[in-house]
Subunit: 310 residues, 2 copies
């Protein structure tokens, strides 16, 4: 593949930006990759592992002469960042982001940007429970969806070019309205994360079942929840605060449904339970057929053995 952007500025060097750097290099999509991060330690690590071609100290320096600027910081930090970089953006540059919420980013970032740049909000639906500059890898986006939510004034050519970058990084690209994105993600990501955090918190909090029992017997289902409950706390705090309405709506549906199942348990309504548990199997099959998860038992995971058994 050929170079799509001559200079890409990555602001924030965590899992997503780091993986973008690796993926862009894999296919030679960027002439130069310039990176920066708020923490000096992160910048030092990025320099040390050669994550970018250049690591600079400030967002203003990073965006200098860049034809693509990627905002890869927690959603709550986007507005300040946009205000900081605005005076330094090159004419005709494309500004995108990788935030998990889109309406709020449009509202927080958009007003700061000058008319001479293109704003194409985006969200790669990919991640792991790890974070930081060392956690990225080139394959993260392979066969995963990236959603772009261009605003009305966005030049379609700028959107098409960013789409090419994501396709080059291995992703499948879709476009939709920011509000619809936020509702879809409230279902497929935000509410599941909140529920997982809650379940893990409850387990940690019980006095009659010890943490060591929770840990030893976690393979019975619980451990699946702990993976997503190990995700970055700052990122997730910002997601819930900035996608409040959609998350609360889906949470409302969730508790309604949970109470119905709880009542079925209390009243011994086995038919209701059986019918419900049968229906949910179909969704799993759909996900596997769509290539969005593995059919291998237990996700095909290998489990490290304890050194001392028993």
């Amino acid at each position: 593949m050929s170079v799509i952007y001559k200079r890409v500025a990555l602001i924030g060097l965590g899992l997503i930006a780091g993986s973008m750097a690796h993926a862009m290099r894999r296919n030679g999509l960027a002439g130069e990759i310039v990176g920066t991060a708020r923490s000096a330690e992160t910048r030092a690590i990025a320099l040390d592992i050669g994550l970018c071609d250049r690591v600079v100290d400030t967002p203003a320096a990073a965006v200098e002469g860049a034809d693509l600027v990627v905002l890869a910081v927690p959603v709550g930090a986007m507005a300040d960042l946009a205000a900081q970089i605005a005076p330094h953006l090159a004419r005709g540059a494309t500004i995108t982001d990788v935030g998990s919420v889109k309406r709020d980013v449009v509202e927080q970032v958009g007003p700061h940007l000058p008319d001479h740049v293109h704003f194409v909000p985006g969200h790669p639906l990919a991640g792991t429970e790890h974070s930081g500059p060392r956690s990225g890898f080139a394959e993260l986006f392979d066969n995963r969806y990236t959603i772009l939510t261009p605003v009305d004034s966005t030049d379609p050519a700028a959107t098409a070019r960013l789409r090419d970058l994501w396709t080059g990084c291995g992703a499948l690209v879709e476009e939709m309205e920011a509000d619809h994105h936020d509702l879809v993600l409230a279902v497929t990501s935000h509410t599941p994360h909140l529920i997982a955090y809650t379940m893990v918190g409850v387990a940690d909090d019980l006095r009659r079942v010890t943490d060591s029992e929770v840990i030893k017997y976690s393979a019975a289902g619980f451990r699946d929840f702990t993976r997503i409950a190990a995700s970055d706390p700052t990122m997730w705090r910002d997601v819930f605060l900035s996608n409040k309405d959609a998350t609360l709506e889906i949470l409302g549906r969730f508790t309604e449904e949970l109470f119905a199942l709880q009542r079925a348990i209390r009243t011994g309504d086995g038919d209701h339970l059986h019918e419900y548990f049968t229906r949910t199997r179909a969704i799993r099959r759909g996900i596997i057929e769509a290539g969005q998860d593995t059919d291998a038992p237990n996700f095909g995971r290998e489990v490290a053995r304890k050194e001392n058994k028993g």
Copy 2:
């Protein structure tokens, strides 16, 4: 290793019994393995793939002369099964089960058993989202815990012998009271499963977000829930009905905690959210250090690619 039981009768030939057959053979723990299942199709498959040394048509025939009888059917079917086999049990035989609930099994099965047998209820905390006679494999119990809940009258020698069998199958073995088991499992298994079923049901049920969107964008967290929500519906119906009190108790704690987080989202209390999300990371680390899950990103799963991209 050497033979621990001369003849093992497996009643019910699903994931757990099938994996026991494979694991016992791997280490030569059983002189002969006799199996039976209610469905003629399951028995035919078991015969076809050589799962057991002999496949017989009835539980009564299976237990004939067996020194270990394993009840591997849904918890709701245990009482009838115990009544059926009771007159045919060999003197001195050990009767165990693999049910996910223990107090109910003790109460349902115990009264049917004659005095001349040993009753050692058990529960291997291992499984996958697959079921049926083809789903078993020898490594399922490796480094996973099996909990035994012997009753007051159980001969310690019978418990020790069953413990040896499970250790030989690769498991780590613990003993505890049936009631405590049921509470621990309500936390580490039953409530997580109910919550996962609920979340998948909600996603399936929304009109404003299509099933195809839920499937395409599932990698953002949701797909983790669909795995356990694809487990066997009959087994899980029986689990909730027979561990009603402990499940309802933990569900109560869960909704209390969820409402507190929901309020924090509504009121914009970012500190509460951040503190909560930080605390839950520690549990994940404990599970990985205990060898009960992998540290590989996304459980190390490989995802099949779609044939046609885009």
